[in-house]
Amino acid sequence: MSQYVLSQDIDRCIGCYSCEVHCKANKNLPEGPRLCRIYQVGPRWVDKVPRVAFSFIACFHCEKPWCVPVCPSGAMQKRPEDGIVFVDPEKCIGCKLCIYACPWGVPQWNPESSKAVKCDLCKDRVDRGLQPACVTKCITGCLYFEKKEFMPTERLKQHERMVSIYPPTDE
């Protein structure tokens, strides 16, 4: 896991998909690859109100990322200083092994460049002291980007809330 945590406050998320567009606009990506995703859960009746929850998923920046060792060209890397997992487009040969290796389907295919592309937590912005595009421009401020040692237990509790109050539907 990288030094950073990208987390979401479920109660404040309005599922507007803006994060997805902020990400793609910032990376100048064509139609096809989507580096972060909003997944809708519900609506379902919770007491007397049909509730909807939206789950934000980007790359987990694993402690032992499966995408890195399978990369034959050394394009997929983990930054030693902060653990951000990223792909260097100069070195990527477009073999798609990372796409198959990742259990979450995180690396995406860029049909324009014929290379893999993935969430790198906007490391260029992070290096400039800024936050990732999705966090910077989130409408309701439901996304948080923090060093993991600063991640308060509140956030963890919110994640519990996601799975307890908005459990996946049976359908």
Partner: protein, 701 residues
């Protein structure tokens, strides 16, 4: 080289303040203005980059060849296009006078240029889209306060109870409003959400009422009834500022919550529960009087009743409730100079009849749809030329065939737009407007708690051969010998003219992109300082101007007839990544929501043996379309729902062309079906027939 530019978004008509980063002349980043929005922006806002740099937009002036709507165009120079428009306007005006030209737009803060142009021609026929949107709300507001819809701000951050009627704030997205609403909810605001279906906004509510379509007015009458019965209103405010309270109380006497339960499907007990909460929450209560409320023939009264509830709550000029929007004059500051003010008044009466035939409507923008009958009948006089300025009535207004019949009688249709709209495509000349990143705009005033001047600044050079409106209107005026009304060479001179006497220069906008006219908000004195622009100076539950025009101040509720078997109200609305009909072809937004579906109630669908993903046939008045079903329990059985803006017919828009369906096409006859008291089109009074489509009929619209 890198630069940072403060500007205003143009993806939808909210025009959020933005900051744009440009590297070597290419825009690379757009965010919400950090001083106002802390960087927040919606997806459409970020997709502004892909709008400007994709090629499916008008790239240069075009003149139609062949038949209208035939799609054959000749690319011409600006010189040729402007000469063509000016020559045709001259010829038409020589024969029929300046009044034979009308211009429509979508409202907003930059209207000085088009209004000046039209007025300089001697035409009174400036109009806008609002008859398809908020006219009912505006007129309802005027009939009570003498103040318009935009003269109020809803203080959502501090509100304790917000009641929304299908006003879907988390999907219709004004960034500041959505942020404030979420902050309000986080601080414990109660939200009662009333709609014919569940939305994202409703999913965050503390109370959700799935109301029978078209019965909002019945619901409000019952809430007023219960508020008065339970004495849950602000007696001091009502005594001080309203007239005819007793007649209101008497009028609502028969409309009990028990009565409303039968009309609306909302249990009487729950209406009483709401009223009890209101007693505790007032005056920090907002009954949202609606935004797009061109729905039913009684939408004006539905909105008026929501306004009445705000008044009973004492929610006027109060934190957490409605606050009266202040302009520069309210802070003893000079306003902006307008070009229009220098053009002689036009004495001619409006072709749409507003202001004389229909004295109860605001003559400002009149009513767009009434121009069609004026064109057809040449009554009160011939109307022969139409300038569509950033407005696409064939998408926004109902009944394509009826509209085209009207447009066909015109000698000239000119479209100024940055996109290929349905109307532009049906016109004679397309004059491509620069996109919002590519142009400077005049300085705008934004009324508010604190009034503000704000400006759109050019971030990048036009990608194609487009021009800004300050240039296009000036060039047209010069060709018509009216250049004196546009006395500037560049935009800087126009800004200097606007700012004369304010003590400000354009450089004052560089630090933040706007100038606030005060540091602290000032509230008017609720005991003595409120000014209502009604004849009595009070809030008028009984409105003489309405009564004089033949409309009751308080209308008797007319129960909606049950719909014939197999027919439904076709309700339409928004998705968070689309702005009406403007964004369907945007590469990034199309990817997220490419096609609209038809929401249909699960019980109804079961009877029709329709499952999600099946094709459904919709028909009305000879128009038939097929669309995929989305089956859900979260929509009222009398309604079906879709996202507006799809079913585009311009073949150059490769992503959006022929995808999904255009709801407005099915609102047959609605051009003449409008709320006579409020002026708004009654889209939902026209019903659609729904049946399962046979496999072979799976054709596009």
């Amino acid at each position: 080289m890198r630069k940072s530019v403060f500007s205003m978004c143009g993806m939808c008509t909210v025009r959020c303040p933005i900051r744009v980063e440009v590297e070597d002349g290419v825009a690379t980043w757009i965010e919400g203005n950090p001083h106002i929005l802390a960087g927040s922006l919606c997806g459409k806002g970020s997709a502004g980059l892909s709008f400007h740099y994709q090629e499916e937009r008008p790239q240069g002036p075009m003149i139609r060849q062949g038949l209208r709507g035939g799609g054959q165009w000749k690319r011409v120079t600006w010189e040729t296009a402007l000469d063509y428009v000016a020559d045709n306007l001259s010829r038409i005006m020589d024969k029929h006078g300046g009044r034979s030209v009308f211009l429509s737009c979508r409202g907003g803060p930059f209207l000085d240029l088009p209004k000046t142009f039209l007025k300089s021609l001697g035409s009174p026929n400036f109009t806008n889209h609002d008859a398809s949107c908020a006219r009912n709300v505006h007129h309802a507001s005027l009939s009570l306060y003498g103040l318009g819809r935009k003269d109020f701000i809803y203080d959502l951050k501090k509100c304790r109870h917000l009641v929304l009627y299908g006003r879907n704030m988390f999907e219709s997205l004004k960034v500041k409003e959505a942020k404030d609403l979420m902050d309000g909810l986080s601080s414990g605001m109660r939200l009662t959400y009333v709609d014919v279906r569940q939305t994202v906004t409703g999913s965050k509510a503390t109370r959700f009422w799935m109301v029978r379509p078209g019965s909002d007015y019945a619901l409000n009458l019952a809430i007023i009834h219960a508020v008065i019965k339970e004495k849950a209103f602000d007696k001091e405010f009502v005594d001080r500022w309203t007239s005819a309270f007793d007649s209101l109380a008497e009028f609502v006497e028969p409309y009990s919550p028990q009565w409303a339960e039968k009309q609306t499907g909302i249990p009487a007990r729950e209406i009483f529960e709401l009223v009890q909460e209101l007693g505790a929450d007032r005056p920090r209560v907002v009954f949202h009087p609606g935004w797009m409320l061109s729905r039913y023939l009684d939408s004006f009264y539905a909105s008026r009743s929501a306004h009445i509830l705000n008044i009973l709550m004492g929610s006027v000029e109060v934190e957490g409730g409605q606050i009266i929007a202040k302009g520069p004059g309210d802070y003893q500051k000079a306003g902006l100079h307008s070009l229009e003010g220098r053009v002689p008044k036009v004495a001619e009466k409006r072709a749409d009849g507003v202001g004389w035939k229909y004295p109860h409507f605001d003559p400002g923008p009149g009513l767009f749809h009434l121009f069609y009958s004026a064109i057809q009948e040449e009554d009160p006089y011939p109307v022969k030329a139409y300038i569509s300025y950033r407005h696409d009535p064939l998408t926004g207004f109902p009944d394509r065939e009826a509209q085209r019949a009207g447009l066909n009688k015109l000698d000239l249709i000119v479209a100024l737009d940055a996109k290929f709209g349905e109307t532009a495509w049906y016109g004679d000349v397309i004059l491509p407007l620069s996109g919002y990143l590519e142009k400077d705009s005049p300085i705008a005033v934004q009324k508010g708690k604190i009034p503000r001047f704000i400006v759109r600044r050019k971030a990048i050079e036009p990608v194609y051969e487009s021009k800004p409106e300050w240039w296009i209107f000036r060039e047209l005026a010069r060709r018509l010998g009216l250049g004196r009304y546009f006395p500037y060479e560049g935009i800087e001179e126009l800004w200097d003219f606007q700012l004369e006497g304010t003590g400000l220069t354009i450089r004052d906008f560089e630090e933040k992109g706007f100038v606030d006219l005060s540091d602290e908000p000032v509230f008017l004195d609720r005991k003595a300082g409120l000014k209502f622009k009604t004849p009595s100076g009070k809030i008028e539950f009984f409105s003489p101007s309405l009564e004089q025009a033949g409309f009751p101040s308080l209308a008797v509720y007319e129960e909606k007839e049950p719909l014939p078997e197999g027919t439904f109200r076709l309700v339409f609305g928004r998705h968070a990544v689309h702005a009406h009909g403007h964004t369907q072809n945007n590469p990034l937004l199309h990817e997220i929501f490419p096609e609209n579906t038809l929401w249909i109630n699960e019980q109804v669908a079961k009877k029709m043996e329709v499952r999600s993903g099946d094709f459904i046939e919709l028909s009305a008045g000879g128009v038939r379309v097929n669309v995929r079903a989305y089956v859900t329990p979260f929509i009222h059985p009398e309604a079906v729902f879709t996202v507006h803006g799809f079913g585009r017919t311009v073949p150059l828009l490769k992503r959006a062309f022929g995808v999904g369906f255009a709801d407005q096409r099915l609102a047959k006859g609605c051009l003449e079906l409008y709320d006579r008291a409020g002026g708004g089109i009654a889209y939902l009074e026209s019903c659609v027939r729904v049946r399962k489509a046979a496999e072979k009929e799976m054709t596009a619209t």
